[in-house]
Each structure stands twice: as structure tokens, then as C-alpha cells.
């Protein structure tokens, strides 16, 4: 027994230096969910206002988020900022295909009907609109059907 313990002690601890703990992303999600609800981004009414051009709110939210995101990405690239694990930050480029137009239009239809993009669907459920679970399940089904028939679709 004693000898086994000594052998085990000599083995260095299994380290996973390039992987961040998943719960940290859960925490970012919690923060994001609170912002979603408190800024009423998850509101069906706010999305209706946006598509009826009756309010600046959603344009302000998305516009500011893009601006802050752009500045952040620019700074990360210019200052060569690394991840917390010390790896260089890489962002995969988006390849163009026609799906961005066809799929984009279809998502736009769904966005106007449900008043939610995928993030707010999750937040609405948390905020107590439990019936949105059905919309989420239908969204998962939509993703699944896309995966099943994608080779027949124009891209």
C-alpha cells in the first residue's frame, strides 16, 4: 500500500492549462441573462417597436454592443492580448454562402413572430414565461431539420 501511494505522489497533477473551467462561461451567461431582461431586450413589444421603427431602444442596444465589440477586438489584435491560459486569441473568419441570405430571412421571420432570437428564448424561460419552452423545443427541431436536409438546400 505504502509503495503505491509514493508512486502516485510522484505523478504530476493532471493539468489542463489550455481549457477554462466551464462554470466561468455559465457565470457570464447569468450576467448576460440579467442584462437581457433588465434592458427589456427579451420583450416581444421591444422587437415589435424595432421592426415598426417606433423606438430607438433596440437599435441603440445592438449598435452600442457592436461598437464596443469592435473596439475590443481591435484592441485585442493591436495589443496582442492573450487568453487567461496564455494562448493567442484567434477568431475564425465567417465564410460567405447564400445561406446567410436565405437562412437570415427565415430567421428574421421567426424573430418578428416570437419576438426573440435564440438568447432571449432562454432568458424568457428563466424570467417565468414557461410556455417559451415550447418555442425553444421547436427551435431545436428547426435546427435538427436543417441538419437533416442541408445537402438539398442552396448554399
Amino acid at each position: 500500500m505504502v509503495s503505491i501511494v509514493t508512486v502516485e505522489e510522484k505523478i504530476p497533477p493532471v493539468a489542463t492549462p489550455t481549457k477554462a473551467a466551464n462554470w466561468k462561461f455559465g457565470l457570464v451567461g447569468v450576467f448576460f441573462g440579467i442584462v437581457f431582461v433588465k434592458a427589456e431586450v427579451i420583450s416581444w413589444f421591444r422587437i415589435q417597436e424595432m421592426f415598426r421603427l417606433d423606438s430607438f431602444h433596440m437599435y441603440g442596444v445592438i449598435g452600442t454592443a457592436v461598437l464596443i465589440g469592435m473596439i475590443s477586438v481591435l484592441l485585442i489584435k493591436r495589443l496582442n492580448i492573450k487568453t487567461m491560459q496564455g494562448d493567442p486569441i484567434t477568431i475564425a473568419p465567417k465564410q460567405f454562402n447564400k445561406g446567410q441570405i436565405y437562412g437570415g430571412l427565415l430567421f428574421g421571420f421567426g424573430w418578428a413572430i416570437t419576438g426573440a432570437c435564440p438568447g432571449p428564448l432562454f432568458a424568457q424561460i428563466g424570467a417565468g414565461y414557461s410556455v417559451v419552452i415550447v418555442s425553444l423545443l421547436s427551435a431545436i427541431a428547426g435546427t435538427w431539420v436543417y441538419g437533416a436536409i442541408r445537402k438539398y438546400l442552396p448554399h
Binding site: 455559465g26 415589435q48 423606438s55 441570405i101 437570415g104 430571412l105 428574421g108 424573430w111 436543417y146 442541408r150
Partner: protein, 191 residues
């Protein structure tokens, strides 16, 4: 302080905080901001059905499932614990247009309960607003390769022109549905 938090937050506060999620995820672990991918990971985890699109190691993307799980918890905290006691202020023009389309509930919360209600599940309202709407969100975002977060925020932040095409398509689709589709659909479901 709590009083301030429970008020609706202005767009510049929300936009700034949402924008900061982009560098936070990158610095935390080289993750690109995106939500709709979680729906794909759920498919890959629960029913891949030997479809090539779902045949990948979804366990490597668990962070994304934690992320959306966190959003549900955040929604609970924001919606129930930090609840805004006052009714929403809705732009008068939108309110009148929606009234004309048959929506009655403008005061109970962030969504009209005359639409978003379990009792509507097996009715035409449920078919349009939950089943059809949800399906289009899931199908469309995956077909487009991203949603508002992946394309409009992450993609535009990284100056990707395909994301601009996608974002414009989202908006065109939304305008078309709001002004051409919804008036017809809302009459059809009998609001």
C-alpha cells in the same frame, strides 16, 4: 441601488455590457460569442441520428451549454428577483398598431400574455407563435450560420462582411414578417 437596478436599463448601458461579453469570452478561453450554436450542440448530444451535421464531439463545446444555462438563470434573477414593478412603456404607435391587430395585454410584463400562454398551446395561436416562430428561429439561424449574437455582434465586431449580409437579411425578414406576414397571421389565429 436596488431601486436603480430594478428600473429598466437604458440602451447604452445594455449595449455596453453586451458588447463587453465579446472580449470576456475571448479572454476567458478563446470562445467566439454565439448562442444559436447551442441548439446544434443539443441536437448533436440528444439525437445526432447519424446526420453528418451533428456527428462531432459536442463535449468540446460544453462551455456553450453552460453559457445558455447561465442565461436561463440570469433571466430568472432579472425577471423575478429584480423585477420592474411598473408596467412597460411601449411606443404609442406600436401599441396602437398591436391593439388594432387584437393584442390586449400591454401591462402584465415583457410579453403579451394573451399570446404567450400555456392555454394557447394547442390552438392556432400556439401553432404560429410557438411552433412556427420557434422553428423558423432554429432553422434560419443554423442555415445562416449564426444569430444576432454570432453574426450581428461577434461577426460585425470582427469586421466580417458575410455577417453584415446576414444581419441585413435578419432585418429584412423581420420587417417583412412584421408588416406583411403578421397582420395576416394574427387575424388568422383569431387574436
Amino acid at each position: 441601488m436596488l431601486n436603480f437596478i430594478s428600473q429598466p436599463w437604458p440602451w447604452y448601458v445594455a449595449g455596453t455590457l453586451i458588447g463587453l461579453i465579446v472580449p470576456t469570452l475571448l479572454i476567458l478561453g478563446n470562445k467566439a460569442f454565439g448562442i444559436s450554436s447551442s441548439l446544434r450542440h443539443i441536437c448533436a448530444a440528444c439525437m445526432p441520428a447519424k446526420i453528418p451535421f451533428f456527428s462531432y464531439d459536442w463535449r468540446k463545446e460544453t462551455w456553450n451549454l453552460w453559457f445558455v444555462g447561465g442565461i436561463i438563470v440570469g433571466g430568472f434573477i432579472g425577471g423575478l428577483l429584480l423585477k420592474n414593478p411598473a408596467a412597460m412603456t411601449i411606443a404609442p404607435d406600436t401599441l396602437n398598431s398591436l391593439k388594432a391587430l387584437g393584442v390586449h395585454d400591454f401591462t402584465s410584463g415583457l410579453l403579451p400574455t394573451d399570446i404567450f400562454n400555456w392555454e394557447n398551446l394547442f390552438t392556432a395561436k400556439g401553432l404560429v407563435f410557438f411552433i412556427l416562430g420557434g422553428f423558423l428561429v432554429g432553422f434560419g439561424t443554423r442555415y445562416a450560420g449564426g444569430c444576432t449574437s454570432g453574426h450581428a455582434i461577434m461577426g460585425l465586431s470582427n469586421l466580417q462582411w458575410p455577417s453584415l449580409v446576414a444581419t441585413l437579411s435578419f432585418m429584412v425578414g423581420g420587417f417583412a414578417m412584421t408588416h406583411l406576414g403578421l397582420p395576416f397571421l394574427m387575424r388568422w389565429v383569431g387574436l
